[in-house]
């Protein structure tokens, strides 16, 4: 009988430890990837939590660039030289285009921080993502996939999320041309391109994004935001030079402010 007591006690201890640490999700984040727009960051509890998984959906294939650029800019906003590891499949260049460093440099990002990894197929992509996510020291890991991703089921997603939590890396899943599905992500966003504020002579202005918070573990979802990227200040914002903005109603609730411009 004595032998069986010890394993039981050990298991009880383990459960007690897990309970004390608050389990998987309730541990506070070690930091945030911020957008630089105070109201936006505040509304999602500080920004995109470090060490968690965040999903960016471009439901329409034509919005692939907006989703990719938003994820990249949020990661490249972080100070320092920590690399941004970007995993994609071989056909991504043909589908959504090659990642173009001069364009990233003109957005104010540092293309030297990019480490591009090209996997042959989604299976290899997932295997490489599992390795990349367990490697501390990156600014973020972007995993770009196209269409349905049947290999990324709840188990695979949870494995990625646990790896990210243990190593303290942030996983940004780019789901292009895909419809949102249940997952273990901390936040889930729908990204579409937004009309820019025209410059002189009706020229297209600064990059603009329409964001919808589809799911957030830490609070209510459903808020919409329209953000502009300001490469001089290296941050997102809601106002632009032209001043020709839709007025923001002052009395609306904090959480739904973002919807005003949408």
């Amino acid at each position: 009988m004595r032998e069986s007591i010890h394993p039981l006690a050990g298991l009880r201890q383990r459960i007690a430890r897990i309970a004390a640490s608050g389990g998987f999700e309730s541990r506070p984040a070690e930091g945030w990837l911020t957008s630089g727009h105070a109201r936006f960051d505040e509304a999602v509890g500080g920004g995109l939590a470090v060490g968690r998984t965040h999903e960016f959906f471009a439901a329409d294939a034509l919005d692939a660039t907006s989703a990719a650029a938003f994820a990249a800019l949020v990661a490249l906003r972080t100070p320092g030289k920590a690399p941004l590891i970007w995993l994609r499949t071989s056909d991504a260049g043909r589908r959504s285009g090659h990642i173009y460093a001069p364009g990233i440099a003109e957005l104010g990002g540092d293309p030297d921080r990019l480490l591009l990894v090209e996997a042959a197929d989604p299976k290899m992509l997932l295997a490489c993502a599992n390795d990349a996510i367990r490697c501390a020291g990156s600014a973020a890991v972007i995993v770009e996939s196209w269409g349905k991703f049947p290999l990324l089921d709840l188990t695979a997603g949870r494995r990625l999320a646990l790896g990210a939590r243990d190593a303290g890396t942030t996983l940004l899943m780019l789901r292009l041309n895909a419809v949102p599905a249940p997952s273990v992500a901390e936040t889930r966003w729908g990204v579409t391109a937004a009309a820019s504020h025209a410059l002189e002579a009706n020229a297209p202005g600064a990059p603009a994004f329409d964001l919808e918070l589809l799911r957030w573990r830490g609070g209510p979802a459903g808020t919409r935001w329209r953000l502009d990227w300001n490469h001089d200040e290296h941050s997102f914002g809601e106002t632009t030079l032209s001043g020709a903005l839709l007025p923001l109603p002052a009395r609306r609730a904090m959480a739904s402010h973002g919807a005003a411009a949408a």
Binding site: T65, G103, A105, E118, C128, D131, A136, S196
Partner: protein, 467 residues
Amino acid sequence: MRLASVDPAALAVGLRPGMPLADARAQIGELAVVAHDPVLDQDWLDRLAQGCARYTPLVALDAPDGLILDIAGAEHLYDGEAGLVADVEMRFIRLGMTLRHALGPTADAARALARYQARPAPDEAQAIRRLPVAALELEAEATTALVRAGLKTIGDLASRPMANLAARFGADAAMALRRISGDAPSPLDPRITPPPVVAERRFAEPLGSSAHAVKVLSELAGEAIEDLGGRGKGGRHFRATFFRSDGLARTIAIETGHPTRDAGLVMRLFAERMDGLADPLDPGFGFDMIRLAIPRLEALGASQLRLEGGAVKEAAIDELADRLATRLGRGRVRRLRPADTHIPEQAQLELPAIDAPAPLPWQAPEPGEPPTRPFHLFDPPQPIEVIAEVPDGPPQRFRWRRAFHAIRRYEGPERIAAEWWRRRDNGGLTRDYYRVEDAQGRRYWLFRHGLYDEKPDPRWYIHGVFA
């Protein structure tokens, strides 16, 4: 053109080095001439020096046509100096070389004897004294002056006070004399090739299992890396060869982005490579030898961990890049570097992260202006159907991937000419780029390939998508 060198047959008929080629041809009609290639000569001398490593590890080059061997303590292997000299002669004659050689108490003395000895002498000291003053290799005028003064041999000079010689011909002359006569040390600058780092193990009984072979490989990695540590080097390229008892050999190689002395890392990369092999390592009838070679070494100092852990994190990323490159192929883990051209699709290079050069600065953004280059670039550009004013109006609407896009805003054209200075056909057509935004707020980069006066019906393409 002059003769650089002649063979004994040519010497016999009166040709001399330095003679104009035309004169030589006039003398001998059927003269066989080969162009003089100093680089090849140097190469050949280097190979001979490598071969002479069989006699002694200390072999120095005496360019362009000499070798100096320090045989102190090595001659007994050939039963004394005479045996060694005979062996050298035998091998060089077999290579078709003509040889002049001499033994001397110091390197300079031996060299002078080999190059300038004209008369035999009873012993070394006498031989040196009888050398002509030309052996000092002073300037031609100085040599002539010495001979005119009646000082024809080294012996004549050595019997005079050294101070006079130094005063008249400079300290170098005095030093050369002292070196030849053995009063001053004449150090040798030996050509040393570091032996390649190789660890190997042979088995009396062939190994039948791959797992066991990998275990042996990890022991070999430990040995080879210990060797690297002693040299202050790290390996960049590791090559394991498995020799099967039926004569087949399988080589598996890995590469790292930075020099390493971490046996664990090397074995992890080997494991990664072996997992990804299309046909796995097959022992067949067993491996009878396993060899690990490290052909590419780079300097790597002893390292110390930094307190803040920055170096550790960088090393972790480098290791990840190496591991992924080993699994996927070296060209599939890439970094981006700028290229100096204004042709958009050539302005960035995607280079393997393993040996990407140091970063160069990118074009900085214009303050207050939206980006002029897209986030995603299509290469090759994708053809689209466009409705635009002829000849050079902006596009109004376009069809791409079976969908119509009405253009609300545009900017352009930005005219990018072909690189006419690079290609004979003027480099192709000029492109007019437009930055456009459609009704949904998506921003595209379109161009018309060719001006109307270059081409009757220029086509339109989409080259990229803006954020």
